[in-house]
């Protein structure tokens, strides 16, 4: 699917911009506070988390913003992504957001694939399967957060393309969950991508 008007802001670019801003100030106390605020906002209604508003809404284009007090899909996807990013970044010296131009369309399935080795694979697979078969957005996010925590604990170097994640979550909310599910699962179980072709015949 083509991201609609290119010159217009979309979830992908807006998320990228916000993350860029957060990275710039990461080493300052304001940046740390922002991440802490994001983590604290998890699971709480937005009205009680005034602290994250400036970070999130400062960069949002007008048309993303809600007019009736309920979060729009854009807001929800971006906020959720930032929260997970904050979780993932906590206590890490290197940036966990992947920004390389070449891999900017890699989805979270590829990042999570890093967990699929050794004896834990079966356990991780079943966690992953539980996540992608979630029936609601909230359930999906719950499992996603857990997986990211595991990723953080086990694979320090593994990064996530957070802008893509926000984009996927946005389309998940826009009733494209089937496509999101498929593309994550394909990437997660893929063997060819990110490995040299020669490796394939060995397994």
């Amino acid at each position: 699917m083509k991201e609609h008007v290119l010159d217009k802001d979309n979830v992908f670019t807006v998320t990228g911009r916000i993350l860029g801003r957060l990275e710039e100030i990461r080493d300052y106390s304001s940046g740390k506070a922002a991440l802490a605020n994001l983590r604290n906002s998890i699971g709480r209604p937005l009205s009680e988390t005034i602290d994250v508003w400036p970070i999130v809404f400062e960069q949002m284009p007008e048309h993303f913003l809600s007019k009736n007090g309920k979060l729009t899909s854009e807001e929800k996807a971006i906020l959720t992504t930032l929260q997970i990013y904050a979780l993932h970044q906590q206590g890490q010296s290197v940036n966990v957001n992947k920004r390389s131009e070449k891999e900017k369309w890699n989805n979270i399935g590829i990042s999570l694939k890093a967990l699929r080795n050794g004896e834990d694979t079966i356990a991780i697979d079943s966690r992953f399967n539980t996540m992608i078969t979630s029936t609601t957005f909230e359930e999906l996010i719950h499992h996603l957060r857990q997986l990211v925590r595991i990723l953080k604990a086990k694979k320090q170097n593994e990064k996530i393309v957070y802008a893509r994640l926000a984009n996927d979550l946005y389309w998940y909310l826009r009733n494209q969950e089937e496509n999101v599910r498929l593309s994550w699962a394909k990437a997660y179980y893929s063997k060819l991508e990110n490995t040299e072709k020669g490796d394939v015949s060995n397994d």
Binding site: T121, I122, D125, S126, N129, T130, I132, T133, E178, R181, L182, A185, K186, Y188, Y189, S190, K191, L192, V200
Partner: protein
């Protein structure tokens, strides 16, 4: 006292224009205007095939004895009934073949048949009566099936609704959605009787019981019933007749034999001949072969329910019956025909292009492969018909699979359009081989790679191994590639780059196959994602995505 002479009375249905207008014509009319008629347009493709062979038998008979101008060849003697009475000397066979080629070529150039064919038909006028007491067409006289000659008191009776394969109803089961109903199921017009009579001799089944004598023999179910018919179609009926007129038989051993169409013999002679140990050795005899001694009562009032009586005749030898030019062959690796070729029927639900190799590839390409001689014939005449878009047609009668009744239940009919230069390009790097590789790979992608994916999905869903899920999926995919493949095939021009054209097909094939696999994914349930735990620990359990990724891997590898 004959009635309804097939030479003069209209009875063969032909297509007269592109709009689909049909009309019934007589034999004379058909040969005179063959260039103006588009095609045979009988009641069914199997009937057309049977009639086509009858027409070809006439042409084979005439033009094996006379050249295009109606002059007899000087290698043998011809009597006043235009019969060949002496045999040809062995050393003359080669010259004779040359003459036959010349005859064929002249006819192809002339675009019409000369008088000799009408002369011949007129000479044998008395043998073409549908109803006759001495020489009834395609039937026997009453004396031939007299009670003392057959195994029961009376020959089996077959009613009009069985003879008419459009209804094909026995006395025990009623065909629900038949094109005729009530008592008119049993009524046939004289032209219909004639057409279905010819068809019945080719496709009869085994449900009738009466045989000649007391001793059992292998009865014929109709020669056409057992073959995977292949013939060629031109732009009009004349071209179709000529293209299939294998005047110089590609198996040279058959060239020297006299043509023996059934009408040149009495019914008793034909019955006796079918019991003799001599193999059929000439095309006219093969094309007018009978599966039954059929007797139509002369008192028959055709405005009432129609029926005729039949007695089984012995089967034609099937093993290595290479006289037959219009069938595909199977090489038997086991069973009673081990080490021999037998005709291979077309498979229901399988497009003809899947047998592309069997139909077109030269004999030597694969060990024990036997190509239909009609394709060799095309090789031989390719210079005369140069750069001609021919259509290869295939026709078979589907049976009920019951070895004791062998009831015809359906027809298998397909066609494939292809340029003749492609068919005759059988060099090692020629089109034929390349196209065949494309077909083989297509079959592999669908029948193996995609099938394996479906089997994996079936296992993930824990469906029974007999579940139709896999077969249905494979058939669906074949159905989906059918049209694109045909279009691709008929789009090939001999001058095209082979590599480009072939990879063009592979691209669209991969696309279609992948689309189908994606569709399976789109319909996946949560359970498919969760998958199953495999006993094999190394394999980490499988789900629909791992199955898909595996499929993609093999698809790309090919």
């Amino acid at each position: 006292m004959g009635k309804f002479n097939l030479i003069e009375e209209p009875w063969i249905s032909v297509l007269t224009d592109e709009k689909g207008t049909t009309k019934e014509v007589s034999l004379i009319d058909l040969f005179q205007n063959a260039g103006r008629y588009k095609d045979l347009a009988g009641d069914s493709p199997t009937q057309n095939f049977a009639i086509l062979r009858l027409l070809l038998a006439i042409l084979h008979t005439v033009f094996s004895r006379f050249d295009a101008d109606g002059q007899p060849y000087h290698y043998f003697e011809i009597d006043d009934r235009l019969r060949q009475i002496s045999t040809i000397d062995e050393e003359d066979v080669e010259d004779y073949s040359e003459d036959l080629y010349r005859t064929w070529n002249e006819m192809w150039q002339n675009k019409e048949f000369k008088d000799i064919i009408y002369q011949y038909l007129n000479t044998w006028h008395d043998r073409f009566y549908l109803f006759d007491d001495k020489f009834p067409f395609y039937q026997v006289t009453e004396a031939v099936i007299a009670p003392d000659k057959i195994s029961k008191k009376k020959a089996s009776s077959v009613s009009g609704k069985t003879i008419n394969r459009l209804v094909s109803e026995s006395g025990n089961k009623i065909a629900l959605f038949s094109p005729k109903h009530g008592s008119n199921k049993e009524i046939l017009t004289a032209p219909e009787i004639a057409r279905w009579l010819v068809t019945f001799q080719g496709y009869s089944g085994l449900s009738d019981k009466v045989i000649f004598g007391k001793e059992k023999y292998r009865a014929s179910k109709g020669w056409l019933f057992d073959i995977g018919g292949v013939f060629l179609k031109g732009n009009n009926l004349f071209e179709t007749l000529l293209l299939n007129l294998v005047l110089v038989h590609p198996k040279s051993e058959h060239i020297e034999y006299k043509q023996k169409p059934c009408w040149e013999y009495s019914s008793q002679e034909i019955v006796d001949r079918s019991f003799s140990i001599n193999k059929v050795n000439n095309i006219a005899e093969l094309y007018t072969n009978w599966s039954r001694a059929i007797y139509i009562d002369l008192e028959t009032d055709i405005s009432k329910a129609f029926s005729f009586n039949i007695v089984k005749l012995p089967d034609i030898e099937h093993q290595d019956q290479f006289l037959e030019p219009m069938t595909i062959w199977r090489y038997n690796k086991s069973g009673e025909n081990k080490g021999k070729h037998t005709p291979r029927k077309h498979q229901a639900g399988q497009s003809m292009w899947r047998s592309f190799g069997l139909i077109t590839l030269p004999n030597s390409y694969e060990e024990d492969q036997e190509r239909p001689s009609i394709m060799n014939w095309i090789d031989n005449i390719s210079e005369s018909i140069n750069n001609f878009d021919i259509t290869i047609e295939s026709v078979s009668m589907k049976d009920d699979g019951n070895a004791t009744s062998w009831v015809p239940v359906d027809e298998i009919y397909d066609s494939l359009k292809i340029n003749d230069l492609l068919i005759t390009d059988s060099a090692d790097d020629g089109w034929l081989i390349r196209i065949n590789e494309a077909v083989d790979r297509t079959k592999e992608v669908v029948g193996e790679t995609y099938r394996r994916f479906l089997v994996d999905v079936r296992n993930i869903r824990k469906l029974d191994s007999n579940h139709q899920f896999v077969n249905r999926g494979v058939e669906d995919l074949y159905y989906a590639i059918d049209q694109p493949f045909r279009e691709w095939l008929s789009s090939i021009k001999p001058a095209d780059s082979k590599r480009e054209k072939i990879s063009q097909w592979y691209n669209s094939l991969d696309q279609i196959v992948d689309d189908h696999a994606e569709k399976v994914l789109e319909n996946a349930t949560y359970r498919d994602y969760i998958g199953i735990k495999s006993e094999d620990q190394k394999n980490n359990g499988a789900n629909i995505i791992t199955a898909y990724n595996k499929f993609k891997y093999f698809l790309n590898k090919q």
